[in-house]
């Protein structure tokens, strides 16, 4: 067993860390204030990231990526997690589900996404179908050789900057002993496709400037050439490619918690009340002790999940545990950091209130905490017949 990073990994971590500190941190206050990424800045971050060879580094070399392992990529994302999501979005990490592209889809979607020429967004959630993905109402009906799609998707992140969308759509219903079960197909949908519209979404307390949108399909005609994977094979591509994205949320949470922790540590060592540094009160230093313990635990849990993927070991339960624990850890760490800062913690002069707000969504998206617990329980009990 070996717990150290290799020299390459150390350099990857320090390079991404200094990129985030120098190219992302200075613009965060403006994004928070205006709720948007200043014009041109996203493109500039993207250009620099491409120059550094980090763009789409999660993709294999044969399609133009850097071929990073899950572990290396998790380290990259941990450092990115320190910065504003609205901005680190442009440190491009296209959805790796695009590896399912076949034939001319590679030239139209996969390769331009890896090159940073076209950006993607992924759409599963609907107003009436969140955790229950299969409950989706957005439906495609066969008409000639095409699909005619009606319905909507909401909460779609990054849709404002996306050139195309990876959309899960119901394409049929099977009658089963447990009742009707929808068949799902994954489609590639270009912005501007007739009958398809992207509208502004809601304002969220978390991650200002990282926008979510609503997608509308109104008799939108999609040929079979737009199907990613197989017709009715939506769950197959989803399971093959998407379950690792929970590691992204976990490792982002670890990175952000470490940044937040540095504020807590420094403030506790500096702030004086009752004639001494507040760190001298066990009520404060014990909170700090718990924080770092939980951060380290979440970090190792997450990295070991990534390592398991690299080893080809089963990782579904472990990744669910990492996502669950890291996001709940982040909530506790940001809350305790705010508490340690007292009233100043709530003021937007410091980034603490932002860390606290941003933490909230991590327990919800990419599968809520309850859904992760459900997965963990199912993995444990299924073999026992319970």
């Amino acid at each position: 067993m070996h717990f150290g990073l290799t020299e390459e990994q150390e350099m990857i971590v320090s390079t991404v860390r200094s990129f985030v500190e120098n190219e992302i941190y200075p613009h965060e206050a403006e994004v928070e204030r205006s709720g948007a990424v200043p014009p041109g800045l996203g493109e500039e971050i993207k250009r620099k990231c491409i120059e550094m060879g980090f763009y789409a580094c999660n993709f294999p070399e044969e399609v133009g990526g850097a071929g990073l392992s899950h572990l290396d990529f998790t380290l990259v994302e941990r450092e990115l997690g320190r910065g504003s999501m609205a901005l680190t979005h442009f440190f491009g990490r296209p959805q790796n589900i695009l590896m399912a592209c076949k034939g001319e889809q590679r030239e139209r979607y996969l390769l331009p996404a890896v090159r940073g020429e076209r950006m993607d967004a992924l759409a599963m959630t609907e107003p009436d179908a969140g955790s229950d993905v299969r409950g989706m109402k957005c439906m495609g009906v066969r008409d000639g050789g095409d699909w005619v799609v009606n319905g909507s998707k909401h909460f779609i992140s990054g849709a404002d900057h996306a050139d195309f969308f990876i959309v899960f759509i119901a394409t049929g219903v099977d009658e089963t002993p447990h009742g009707p079960k929808k068949r799902i197909t994954c489609f590639l949908v270009d912005r501007g496709t007739p009958g398809f519209e992207v509208r502004p979404g809601y304002n969220s307390v978390s991650h200002r400037g990282y926008k979510n949108c609503i997608l509308y399909f109104d008799d939108c005609r999609l040929p079979d050439a737009q199907v990613l994977g197989e017709v009715d094979g939506g769950f197959a591509v989803m399971n093959e490619w998407l379950y690792a994205t929970r590691l992204t949320v976990a490792t982002f949470s670890v990175g952000r918690a470490r940044r937040c922790f540095d504020h807590a540590l420094a403030y506790a060592a500096e702030r004086k009340q009752f004639g001494q540094q507040i760190a001298k009160f066990q009520g404060v230093s014990f909170q700090i002790a718990d924080m770092i313990t939980e951060i380290d635990a979440a970090d190792w849990l997450t990295l070991s999940g990534a390592w398991r993927l690299d080893q080809g070991l089963p990782a579904n339960r472990e990744i669910a545990s990492a996502k669950l624990y890291a996001t709940e850890m982040l909530a506790r760490v940001t809350d305790a950091t705010l508490q340690i800062h007292g009233g100043m913690g709530l003021m937007d002069d410091l980034p603490i209130e932002r860390f606290w707000r941003d933490a909230r969504v991590e327990r919800i998206w990419d599968g809520t905490s309850e859904i992760q617990r459900h997965i963990i329980g199912r993995e444990l009990f299924r073999p026992l017949g319970a």
Partner: protein, 252 residues
């Protein structure tokens, strides 16, 4: 032409330094260390010379503890071709003084025969600003310090220097020692492909003893202390109030 770039491993510029309890120096245990920022600028300039076809090879050299390997790997990841590590201490708290560093570098220069030594103007840990000058003296080479712009042209270089109150342009004969100032360039980030390649680039290790240089300190640190804390400022409501306050203080 070969370019030799000395790089120093120093406490990271983002780290808030802490003076050791006994005042003997700054605490370096478990502190983030990085390449001296001025040396990063020197590495960048050397790589640009290579990209412009004016240099064939960029060699990074570091003198200090074994861990300076990491600093050299960073230089390699930025684009240096190979690296030389001269181990001269095993305690991270032992600083090798400029004269010893210059003597070691002079030996490396004798071995490598570079046409140019590009160094940082000073290291941000002790701010000595002496190594480049001493090296030029030991070698009998021309020197151009505090470079703001470097133009190498065959057997000479035109260097714009940052001097008090402005810029000064000098023409120096090659070979030369040039030291980089802050505005010479903006160093690049290591690229991912170069990070992956860095490990495969040659890094040879020698010791100060191999080169026959005595690194025993000649300077004595009497005391290290925290800078005095600044008193809080005040906010003024208007320009008039500002002027009045300044007059009150006798500043204007």
């Amino acid at each position: 032409m070969k370019v030799l770039v000395p790089v120093k491993r120093v406490i990271d510029y983002n780290v808030k330094v802490r003076v050791k309890a006994d005042g003997s120096g700054v605490d370096l245990a478990n502190v983030k260390m990085s390449m001296n920022p001025f040396d990063e600028i020197a590495v960048e300039e050397a790589i640009r010379l290579k990209e412009a076809g004016k240099a064939d090879e960029v060699i990074a050299v570091s003198i200090g503890v074994k861990q300076a390997q990491e600093t050299l790997r960073t230089a390699l990841a930025m684009g240096a071709d190979r690296a030389i590590l001269i181990v001269a201490a095993d305690d991270v708290h032992q600083d090798i003084e400029p004269l010893a560093v210059a003597k070691i570098l002079a030996k490396v220069v004798a071995d490598e025969q570079p046409g140019l030594v590009l160094c940082g103007k000073q290291a941000i840990d002790n701010d000595m600003n002496a190594t480049g000058q001493m090296l030029a003296a030991l070698l009998g080479w021309s020197q151009a310090t505090f470079a703001n712009k470097v133009d190498v042209d065959g057997d000479h270089a035109v260097v714009t220097r940052e001097v008090d109150g402005g810029l000064q342009t000098v023409k120096v004969k090659m070979p030369a020692v040039i030291s980089a100032d802050l505005r010479l360039n903006e160093p690049r980030y290591a690229t991912l492909p170069n990070i992956m390649k860095a490990k495969k680039k040659p890094l040879v290790e020698q010791t100060a003893a191999d080169l026959g240089v005595d690194v025993a300190p000649r300077l004595t640190v009497v005391k290290t202390s925290e800078p005095a804390t600044r008193a809080a400022g005040i906010k003024v409501g208007s320009v008039d109030e500002l002027v009045a306050k300044l007059k009150e203080k006798g500043v204007v």
